[in-house]
Amino acid sequence: MEELRKKARELLERGAVKVVIGYGPGSAARTRAVFVRKPEDADQLILNDQCTQNLSVYLTKPEVKTLGKPAIVAHLAGLRSLVQLAAENQIADGQVLAIGVSPEGKLAELPDLKAVEAYLAGFRFELSPEEKAELDKIERMTAQERWKFWQEQLARCLKCYACRAACPLCYCERCLAGNNQPQWIPVASHQTGNLEWHLIRAMHLAGRCIGCGNCERACPVGIPLSLVTHKLGEEVFKNFGGRPGLSSQQEYALGSWKLEDKENFIG
């Protein structure tokens, strides 16, 4: 933690960045995003087990962008979001300085995309055995059982869009869900609206979502969204290879194609 504060202070003092986006103490035992602009405020920064929010979501927020070039404290998920945002031309190379945090808590100053990508290349990104087991549980249900399960889960959805707001990759200023000529995705939080919203959000994230879990943590009613995001990640990997957020040159899986793409259901 002291190392992080020192680094933040130093970056701000020499003007390398205008703001350090990191974690600070929050309510109760929580942490929250802090935007440190003065070197003397660097002591606000903390780093502990509670620091789970993927802060990269703030990189595309308009008012955060007005603060100037940021340094961002990012665990692996945050780094991958950063790379994915770059792949989608939302961040230019050198526009963000990443302070990478390894799973063991070791820091790494990553000044550009090349550095972030090289750093990420040293890690493997597969679902953990627990995550695989959770997916397995759903996949072993019959279709009817899955329908019942998801209908129960989605019945709680309020359409608060916390999942969307918390997602680093949902940065569209005009979300499709907000279009009303026609109202393609129902606004209402009835069963149809809830199902269609989540289906479409999932499809818009397929091949882009890196599984940070911000959405699930943000959901006020506890919908197990990571089941969907993990499933998507696995499907894209299984069928098309590659995982998002590892290379800024990576093609968007659903925006590209290969002659050899295989399926077993098209007649």
């Binding site: 759903i138 809830n194 899986a253 098209i266």
Partner: protein
């Protein structure tokens, strides 16, 4: 007993499947009349919501069909569509939707007979499965 007549909505591309369906017609091939064809320029234009809206509005089954790979009038539209369907179908399955009711096919402009056969087999299967009550029950559910 009146047999259940499923409503099948088909999203087809203009250049291949639509022409193929037209050929089935001009060849006077008799086939199930349960399908309602919606013509689009290319399967690449097919939005996921189109399929969901069809189910929403009472379709018991959906057919999506276009040019064979390499034959797309716009070169690659069907390749994009293929990728999307691979992911979409597995997501639909994961959420418990009945993927036996959603059929994908490549039907070329010369395959009038294949079109007829496709419609017949989908109609038969959906007839056997019955009306898609699960999806239709969603309408109005959660509204006070």
């Amino acid at each position: 007993m009146a047999e259940f007549q499923p409503k099948i909505v088909a999203f087809v591309c203009n250049w291949c499947t639509y022409a193929g369906a037209d050929l089935a017609g001009t060849s006077r091939i008799k086939y199930a009349s349960n399908v309602r064809i919606i013509r689009l320029p290319c399967t690449g234009r097919i939005d996921f919501m189109l399929l969901l809206k069809a189910l929403d509005q009472g379709a018991d089954g959906v057919i999506v069909s276009g040019c064979h790979p390499n034959d797309c009038h716009y070169t690659a539209g069907n390749f994009h569509a293929r990728r999307r369907w691979i992911v979409f179908r597995s997501l639909l399955d994961f959420l418990g939707l009945d993927t036996r009711r959603v059929h994908f096919a490549w039907v070329s402009a010369a395959e009038g007979a294949k079109w007829a056969q496709l419609v017949n087999s989908v109609t038969e299967e959906v007839q056997r499965l019955g009306p898609y009550h699960d999806y239709q029950k969603l309408a109005g559910a959660g509204v006070e």
